[in-house]
Amino acid sequence: MQNNSIKILLADDDEDDRLFFTEAFEELKIKSSVSTFKNGVLLMEYLNQANCVLPDLLFLDLNMPKKSGIECLKEIKQEQRFKDMVIAIYSTSASEEDIEKTFVLGANIYIKKPNDFGKLKKALSEVVTTNWQYQTNSLNKENFLLRL
């Protein structure tokens, strides 16, 4: 397991955010492969292919055209097939309401998008290492809640 890189997906309509996100992962110690989608519709199309490789970690922006992060989250949580996926909300919003709502709907992680690259790297590093502990120590994922 240690040699495999972790598979990460991000759905975000902002091109710059997608770019920073991908670059931040390239600089982290844990090996990863990152794929991005520019909206929720494309993400769900990808996930709904019967033979697609499911990610270990999925990052969802909340405000996206066509299909919002919340809608994606709800759809994903209804599918047994996706139950092992850890879901992180990646949003500019820091409203307590959004945070609690997405956690209740089944998100594991909530990250308010940091405003500089160093902080972004630090936040993503924390997410990946915490997730790693859950994966390798068979901790109860139901109890996996992390807010950054």
Partner: protein
């Protein structure tokens, strides 16, 4: 209908091992948590068979020395975190060094190198996971939980909980309760 279950991992593992080894007609004895000794002579093909049946239960045979030591560190930490009768009176660094017969510096470096976290953080994580488990499966108050997990005060547990998860214990409890109501 939804049911919430509590597991005794130790008992579960013992049962699986006993059943599987008696199926294979191989005798074994348990040395300690996560360590067994095979009493019969086993061939290479039998060993592969053991590996295969155990992997169905998510049990893997740990092979390289580093992984074994890491696993021993983790097991010792689990034991410490679950030490309700406070039989372990020394600091965790002293305890680990004595139990595993290596200097704490060595253990700590090895652990950080392989697991992407430090021993200190791993202990905190395990304690907080235990607190979460108690919050969601028992009626214990936070004060009782803090006492059970050897925190000096509720405030100390709350602060460490918030630092580790980003949310307060009461928010955690509220979220998990609402989530269960939603899925029921």
């Amino acid at each position: 209908m939804k049911l919430f279950l509590k597991f005794d991992i130790q008992q579960l593992c013992d049962k699986v091992l006993n059943d599987q080894f008696s199926n294979l007609k191989i005798r074994f004895s348990v040395i300690s948590y996560g360590e067994i000794e095979i009493l019969d002579k086993v061939s290479k093909s039998q060993l592969l068979e053991i590996k295969a049946v155990l992997s169905d239960y998510g049990i893997t045979i740990v092979e390289d020395q580093k992984s074994i030591l890491i696993q021993k560190i983790k097991d010792a930490i689990t034991e410490m975190v679950n030490d309700e009768d406070e039989t372990i009176a020394v600091k965790s660094s002293v305890y680990l060094a004595e139990k595993l017969n290596h200097s704490y510096g060595y253990l700590s470096n090895l652990f950080s190198e392989v697991t992407y976290t430090s021993i200190e953080n791993y202990i905190i994580l395990q304690k907080i996971e235990r607190a979460k488990h108690l919050i969601t499966t028992t009626d214990m108050t936070l004060t009782e939980i803090a006492f059970k997990l050897n925190y000096s005060s509720v405030a100390h547990l709350s602060t460490q909980f918030k630092n580790t998860t980003g949310i307060t214990p009461s928010a955690f409890q509220r979220i998990i309760t609402k989530r269960r109501e939603l899925t029921q």
